[in-house]
Structures are given as C-alpha cells and as structure tokens.
Symmetry: D2
Subunit: 337 residues, 4 copies
C-alpha cells in the first residue's frame, strides 16, 4: 500500500501512520518527496483496504499495489481453470455455447428447444425458473415446476442444465435439479447468495454486475472461491453507460484483460449485453474473436411469444446460422465449437 | 403505447400488430406518416411492457406513454405520504435526520453515539448489523448481537432504530428488533427481498441502486407497495459514473424530479453518495436546499477506528456543526430540522 | 413526432399544440388515451426538434419517430458508400488498416514506420502533426514540419497519409499535404470544424466523441455531408464509462448497429479505445469479427520512446503479428485485409 | 510518481526504470515488497505523465502523487481568486448570477431581458451569438449581429455581457464586443481555443466538458492560465451518465471538492445541467447551498418562442421568484446575491 500524506502534515501525523502500518504487520518506509510525504507499507495484507488508511487524519489517499483478490488471481494459479459440466469442459480449447429460452414456459417448449440447440452444437441448456423482473406486474417464472421441466429436458437430451438462483434459501432446492447455478447481474453483489453458492459445489456462472468494475467482479468471484467452491465461470453481460442504441454496453475488452489477471474461464452473454436481436450474432462472433471461452444465448422458436426478453431472443434458425458463422471465427483463433 | 413500425413493412405485419393490440385489451389507431407507420395502443395496460411489442416482427420500437409504476405515482395519490417512525414523521414539513455508525461495534459504542446524535437533533439511529462487503475478507457485521445492541440503544434513548436487511429469510428476525428496515443499493433489484419487506409492515428505506434509472427506482418501490406495505421511504445515495473525485456521483436533481412524480418521501445519503468526509456537510446542505425530506448520515466518535467506511464518516463534533448549518438551510426553505 | 400532453391539460393547451403542429407544416392527429392525450404530428420535418415541442406549455414530452439525420441514413441511400483513398477503397469488401505513430517525430522515424506498416499490409499511414494534449505542458506536435515529413513518407512509399486537423483555419494547410483529414474525439462536436472539412472534398475520418450517443455521432457526420463532402468514414474509438481497467470502453456493438442505419463505412481504433497495448490485438480481431471496415492503429518501433501514447502503442513486430491473426478473422467473415 | 513493476521482472528492467527516473531529473528509491517491486520517483516533475512510465517494459502501472496542474492549484495560491467583471466581482462573498436567453434573437429581445434580469439582481447578461448546434439543420445564431445587440444591451443597462466563443479565429472579434468569453462544454478540450483565450486577457467562463474528470477540467483551466490569462471562472454544467430523467447529471459535489483544490471561482449552470425547466430553481438553490460562487441561467420572456433550449429556459417571473428563494439560501450560508 502506498499512503500519500496531505501537504504540510506534521511529524505526529506521520508517526501515527507509521505506527498503524506496523500494527497491521507491515513494514513502513517513509519517502520524503518535494511536495509530499509518502509512506510505503510493505507486506501482503490484501484484507486491509485503502479505506482503512484514508480514514486516518493527515492521509490524502492510499493506493494499493496488490489486487484485492487472491485465489482468483493468476499470480496464485498460473494455469487456466477448466470446469467440468457433466461430460463437457468450460475453459478448455473449445468455445462452449449454452443456449435456451429466457424463461422455462412448458415441458414441450423446453424439450423442443433443448433438442434443437443440442443438434446445433450447444453443450448446455439454459432456462429461467425463478425470474427477477424489474416490473412487479411481469411474469415471475414457473419456479419449482420450471426446475422439473429442466431436469426432464436433461434426461431427454443429455444436455447439462443451467438456471438462475435468486436467494440463499433456494440454493439447495435449485442445485438438486440443475447442473450449473447462475448468479444474475442484479445479484453479483448479493454477498449472502455468493456465500451460499460458495458452500455448494456445483459450477456457478457469475454474471458481472451492470455497474461493477473489473476488481469488484473478481472480488465477487473470490467470495465464491473463498467459501470453498472452485468452479466459478465469469460472464460479461453488458454494463450500464450513457449509450442508448443498446440496452447495455457489452464490454468485450474485459475478456482479454481478465485472461491476463485470472485463471477462471470467461463467457459472454450477447443477448442481455445488447438487448437487440440483430446484434446477437455479430457480438457473438466478436466475443469469440477476443478470446471468450463460451457464449450464453437466448433462443426461442417464436420470440414474439416468449414470456420474457422477446426483443433480444433469436429464433432456432438464427441460432443455427450463428453457430455456423461462429465456428468459422473459433477456427480462426485456433479453437472449435 | 406508441408502436413504431420499421420502414417498408407490409399490410400483414401491421394487421398482426393491430390484432395483438386488441388481444391485450387496447384499442389500436393506425397513423400513416410520411416515412413510417405508427400504431397507437389506447388503454391503461402498464403491465404490457415495451419489450412485448418490440419483439413482434416489423416493429422498430415501442414508446410507453404511461409510467410503468402506478401505486407509487402522484397521479394516483396526490398528497405527500407521511410515514410514522415511532413518534416521528418522515415526509412532513420537518427535515428528518437519521444518523449513526456504519457498523454496530459494541453496546457502549452504539449507546454513546445514539445519545450524541439525539442531542444534536437526529430523529433516528442507524447502525449496520449485517454488512454487505465487497471484499470477502472484510468485517461482515455483528449480526444478531448487533441487533440486540440497537434495540438496547433504543430503550436507552427513545430513538427509533434503522438497520439493513440483506436476505428475505432475515426479514422476520430483523424486524423483530428494529423500527425501520433498510434495503441497500446492492439489493434494490433483489426482488425476493423487496417482496419480503413488502409483506412486512415496518417502514422501509429503499436505497437507489447505484446504476438504477429513476423509473427502475420507482418500480422497486412499487414492488414493496404492491405487496402491501405502504411505508416506503426513497433514498438517493449516489450513482456510478465516470467521475473519480468521489466514490459515487450524488444526483441531487432526482429529489425534485421524484417530488413531481411520486408521493413517497425522499431522503439523501451524502456519506455513501460521496465517500469523502469533507463533502458530507456541503452535500447535506445541498440536499435540503433541493427539497429532500431527510438525511441519512454516518457518524462515529473516531472514524479512524470505525470498522467500516471510515473515510466518509464524520465525527460527533462535525455532526453537531452539520446540524447547525443544515438547520439554517432548512429554515431558508421553510422547514425545520 | 409524438407529442404527449401532461395529465389534466385543458382544451386550450391542446388546441395550441395542434395549431403549432400545423404551423410547421405537419398534420395533427389527436389521440385520446385513458390517462393521457397524445398528438401525432405527421410529416417529414426532421429539423423541428423534440425540444421545440417540449418547450410548449402543457407538453410532457415529445418522442421523434424519424431519425434526426437524413443524408447519412440508409433509408436515403441503400448501398454501402465506398471511399477512395488514393488507389485504395475504404468501405468495400477489404478490411482497411491504417497504421502509424501517434505523433510524427522525424523524417526517419515516419519513413521507417511507413515502410514497415506498408509491407505488413496497411493501406495508409497515420501520424499526428498537431497534437491535442490534455496537459498544457506536454509535447504539442511538430505542426507544419510534421506535415512535410508525412508528405515525403507518402512519396517514398506510395501510402496515403492521414492526420488530425484541430481548427477550421488549419483545414486548408493540412489538406494541402495529406490525403485524409481526421477529426479527433474532442472535436466531434466542434461544429465550425465539421463545416470546414465539409467544404473541403478530402475524405474525413470522424472519430466518435467519447460521450456521444449514436445519434449525435451520426449528426456530426451529417454536418460534414450537408456541407458538401460525401467522403465520411466513421470511427469508434471508445467511450467514457465507469470502467477503469481500460482508458475508455470500446463499444463494438455500435459497428453492426451503424451498419443497419447508415451507408457510411465504419472503422475502429483499438489503440485509443483501450489505452492498453496488450488489448490492441484481441480488440482488433473483435472489431473485424463484428463487421468493421477497417482499423486505425498506433505503431512505433520503440513505444517507450514514443513522444505520445506509449502505453497503447504496439511495436512493428506486434503489428505484423496482429495483421496475420486479423487476416484469419477477416477471412472467417468473408473479407480480406 | 510511484512506479509499480510487473510481478517477476528482472534486475535489468528495474535498472532501466531507475535510469529513466534519473534521466528526467528525479531521484529513484527502490521498494522491495512481498509480491512486487515499486520504484518511487522523487521530484516535482508534473510534465512527465504516468503514460510515460507505463510505456516502459516491465512497468505495470504508474501512480502520480502530485496533481498534474500547478497554477490552478491551491497549493500554489492559497487565497481565493476574485475576478473583476466591469464593476462586479466573481469569487468574493457575493453569489453572482448571470442570466439571459440561450440565443440573442433581436435588439428588443435582448434589451428587454437585460433590463428585467438586472432589476431582479443579475450582475451580468448572457446571450449566444454563435451557437454550437448538434443538428446541422438547427438555428446557428446571429453571429456578429448578435454581438452588436449584446454590446448595445450593455450600454442600455450597464450589465456586463457574456457570450460563447467557438473558434480561435473568433476570439479577437468576440472579445472586442463582450466582457466575458465563455468556452462551451463541447470545446473544453479544444486546446487551440484554450490557448487563444489564454492569450487574451478578458475573463473566461470555462464550462466543464460533459465527460471530463475533475483533473481534466482543472487541466483545461491550467491551459488558459499557463498562456497568461489569470481570469478563469470554472462552471459545472452537468455530466453525461446513464440517467435519463434529465439531459445531464448536475454533479454538485464537484463544487466543494474544487474549492479544496483550486483558488479559482466556481459557478453552476442548472439550465443545461438538467435540461428541465422545473428543476432549475431547486438546483440553483442546491448549488448555492454547496458553495457555488454564482449561477448561469437561461431566461426568456416566452420560452416556447425561444429559438434554442426552450425546455430548460425559465420565464422572467420564474427568474424573479428563483432570485428571491435563492437569496434566502445565500443568506443561510453567510453570503448575499
């Protein structure tokens, strides 16, 4: 930690900071600059935040040298983490596609879609049973009935199934039905939920909060990891910016940046990340080109009739076409789908 | 709803939209513009979202005429809602100040602060028992022990107590100890939690999500209202922007804008909204000047020793001074503290 | 234009709006909804802005149906615009790469780089002669001397040369030396400069303002087009958001969205768009995958010694490698470099 | 400057950085942390930017200790700068209000408004002669004719006049007519224009760029100061964020933060900062409460007929009422209007 003192602080304030540095178990080195005094705290104490230091009188700011996360860091684990989902791997050489409707609507619907996306090359089926809806008057999902349909669609097709979990008290129920738990963007900083899925061992897809910085995103991953679950898949799904031609701004540059900093696999959700059907295919191709390990896509035979998220949902035919074109990109970066 | 068709759509697409409009119970009026055809759907159907329409083939966009919330709207209830907190009112002519430490640390700490903030004019005591922390290695709160300390501080001072609730399963426990439940910014879109506090009858302080638009904020309030709890206090606490001289950008313009659109009281949290101790007093005064019904403030006798949020916490003396200066502003806008 | 009236407006306010609609030459249709009255103004009057309407008493908001730009619109010109730069085309099937140093430093430097980037496949050379610098104490460019060096580098290599123009009074001078004028992000809304390059006939690379919406970006292009210059190349270069792992957030989704709305070619600048050397190659590949017509890249033999923008500048070797990998992506989307 | 090296860098990379530090005239101190090596560069070299350092191989990031601006800094000049505008002062104890129409429309219009705003307490008249318009088809201002009208309005009322200057080549002309030059938000980073007004001696109102950080804003001020003009008035006018209930987000917290860091006066423009007429009065009061030295307001006798910016323009009566209510706030903070 680099602790920058305010101009004109006295000896007593500096001594006090040095004392505090030693108290937390670090070594203090005082640097006397032309206009400022700076104290370097030497030692790996990631749990002592910059806020701790800037609350001390006389301190102007504190700049961390080390990242606040550790288990998620590539410094700690150099090789890519590969996560097993039934007989498939996420994070290996293959680009893994997970597809399905935003919401599970009926057994027929989910089986039909599961069959189609499997044939087109998807490795897992997604479908929402518990739906977090901005509007209290909107459809909230089939809940446990939806989980049962997902489990039966797995039996029918062999595809692993992925669904969102909304609350710590649902973790046990949901994980008894599905193969992968998804944490939605609105719950990325729901720390009790992160703990709960951390104590479970099922793979978790952790969506980036729509206003989370990269460090906050990795710290959310660290929450899960630090509670004992090593199977964390990060998912970029668009951030909130001033742009209004899309619902969110899909920030693809986070993919190669995360690849440098963490060993965890990273997938991209261009459906929520744009909110616009026509943009799903080009942004899927872009995601693969920048190095994403997979895609999470909303597919429905009749998007107009989808209970949720119709405008960003692609049809079965569009999905098949997307897979063909994406495969060409995957090969151009030395991977396969 | 105004439904704008893409250029060059055919009659069958238009007829299909008109049919859908009538299906949901609205009346359709077709407007033939110079370059575009537009269909107006007449009728109060707030639960049919723009997304429903833009998912239909041939539709370019759908523009809602009515706000998506209803119970929260001033069109439905014209007079200001006043919310009773023990023997005090939030939303009346008085500017209500709620103050206390970010985290409850001990019985002595909370009693000492309660006594001081009461004397300086606060109407309620805040203090965190369950702390949502970005970093998994940070202090997570005293939990039920903290709730007990809060309840005892109430006994000792007569101040109502406010604390954050993090999960639906905690609502019963927390509301058995405290007078006001707080929903934090990271949980504004935790819809199961909104439902749970909606089914409880205790007053709720609902903090704006750091990336929530005004409509999304009001819809979160509507969630609580629509589940039966009319006692919703809105709280602006800063939004995430590109600015880096503060932790968040405190958006004071939302206060007078909300006053036009909703009957619910609105308070402001300048501690989290800036993250900078020196800015708490001026921004408190600004909040009152723009019409806020109250303030939510972090106060600690020794911010350097505060377990959480030290850099934005003011001392008892600073709080007393803030109250004096804020009182002058309150009077200048015809109110009192 | 759809003009939404406030609740409870009287007949006189409605009549007044209808009169205004007819005054500007549109036809007014009054729609009487359940809770609101709405007036549709029929007619292609893009120059009458929503602001004109919302300033009228009783009007709640005005929603435009037509885009505010016209010449730039694909509705007006359906086929892609191809722009000739010397013997090369931007906007055709080929992905056009423009590369060079951020700043021209010497004749040797620019000739050396020109030769290298040409061999690796670039179709034009970029280099700054007038540098807009945030810090007044930073290097401001070689000015006319830099233009001379660029012109000589063109003679030596046959590459077209591109440079930024900062002020209307420089347009004549700069265009006497170079083949393509560049408008920087900080000048996208410098309307006098847009006019000046509009009156010139040289091709213009128009960089997106770092906080410009898509409509504002297209309106800036329309400025140039409407002053007589049809040779506008749009360039996405990153927007300002809360993200801090990159200098800007490169918004690739604007590329396919612009392709739907305009016939103008669109290129991407991943050097400024990320500010991070390691991200230039993956984001270049992403840009091509989403459909960009070209790339604008900063290349320098020794980025550490570059006068400007060292951290985002790639070496000659990195550029050669980028071209090889990008070529594979271009082929995967049916194009060439 | 604190230079953080990448993990696992070798001695040669460290020696190379140390050499560079000494080359620019600083003293290097090597700190060997547990996981990282850090080099502190001691010496006041604000012109060597963090980018210079992060371009060097092996460097992970560079963190500046000193602010990049100097003349603007309160460390260099401790007392508040007061700027004389004719017989009035901006930056003293009085809150200075500058008001007038967005665009000068006629001699009668400007004289009428000048007279009214003077009587209500304004110290200067604003009015646009050259208008930067987003839409090329919108009204662009009366240009020199408008300047003449402004000069005559000054003769008639004795009010100082303020107008925007758009281009370096206009500075001489505009400053021959008016008392204060205004740099608009779209030109805050038009460095040639900043130089030109820096070489002129007339007071300058510098509006914050809509996506400028506080440091960039102060650096723009430093441009003007460093070219010889000490009369810089900073103006917050709203930033671009995801919020959509206002045109921009007026960031009032920058006012007290700037007061800590700079001696320059700071005013606020709530008209552009919100874009909503009803919000102008409350946000004016908020601006004064947080410590602004003045207000810049758009006033027009008939906003509906204003050529520009009608929706955010207040009437004469609204202005008079705003002045009365704002005076109460000014007194509550120990100032006058």
């Amino acid at each position: 930690m680099i602790i920058v003192m305010k101009p004109n602080v006295g000896k007593s304030e500096i001594d006090h900071v040095i004392e505090k540095v030693e108290e937390v178990g670090c070594k203090a080195i005082l640097l006397e600059g032309t206009n400022r005094k700076v104290i370097a705290a030497i030692g790996d104490k990631r749990d002592v935040s910059p806020e701790f230091w800037s609350a001390i009188p006389g301190v102007e700011k504190a700049v961390p040298i080390l990242a606040p996360y550790k288990i998620a860091s590539r410094e700690v684990k150099k090789t890519d983490t590969e996560i097993k989902i039934n007989d498939q791997i996420i994070g290996g050489n293959k680009v893994s596609v997970i597809a399905g409707p935003c919401a599970v609507e009926s057994q027929d619907q989910i089986n039909f879609i599961a069959d189609k996306v499997k044939k087109a090359g998807a490795i897992a089926l997604r479908g929402g049973a518990f739906k977090p809806r901005t509007n209290p008057y909107s459809f909230q999902g089939l809940r446990e009935e939806g989980l049962e349909y997902l489990a039966k669609a797995r039996e029918a097709t062999g595809l692993a199934v992925v669904t969102e979990v909304l609350s710590p008290e649902h973790v046990k129920l949901v994980s008894s039905y599905v193969d992968v738990l998804q944490i939605g963007t609105r719950n990325m900083a729901n720390f009790l939920l992160l703990q709960a899925v951390g104590e479970c061992k099922k793979p978790v897809i952790l969506k980036r909060g729509m206003s989370a910085t990269m460090d906050e995103f990795l710290l959310a991953g660290e929450y899960i990891l630090s509670h004992g679950n090593p199977n964390v898949i990060l998912c970029e799904r668009g951030i909130r910016t001033f742009e209004n031609h899309t619902r969110f701004t899909l920030s693809l540059s986070i993919v190669p940046q995360l690849k440098k900093l963490t060993h965890l696999p990273i997938i991209v959700d261009p459906s929520h990340g744009t909110g616009v059907r026509d943009l799903v295919k080009p942004m899927s191709k872009g995601a693969i080109a920048v190095g994403a390990d997979g895609l999470l896509l909303e597919v429905h035979p009749d998007p107009e009739k989808a209970f949720v998220d119709g405008p960003q949902t692609i049809t079965i035919e569009e999905f098949e076409n997307l897979m063909t074109e994406s495969r060409a990109i995957a090969r151009a970066v030395g991977r396969d789908i």
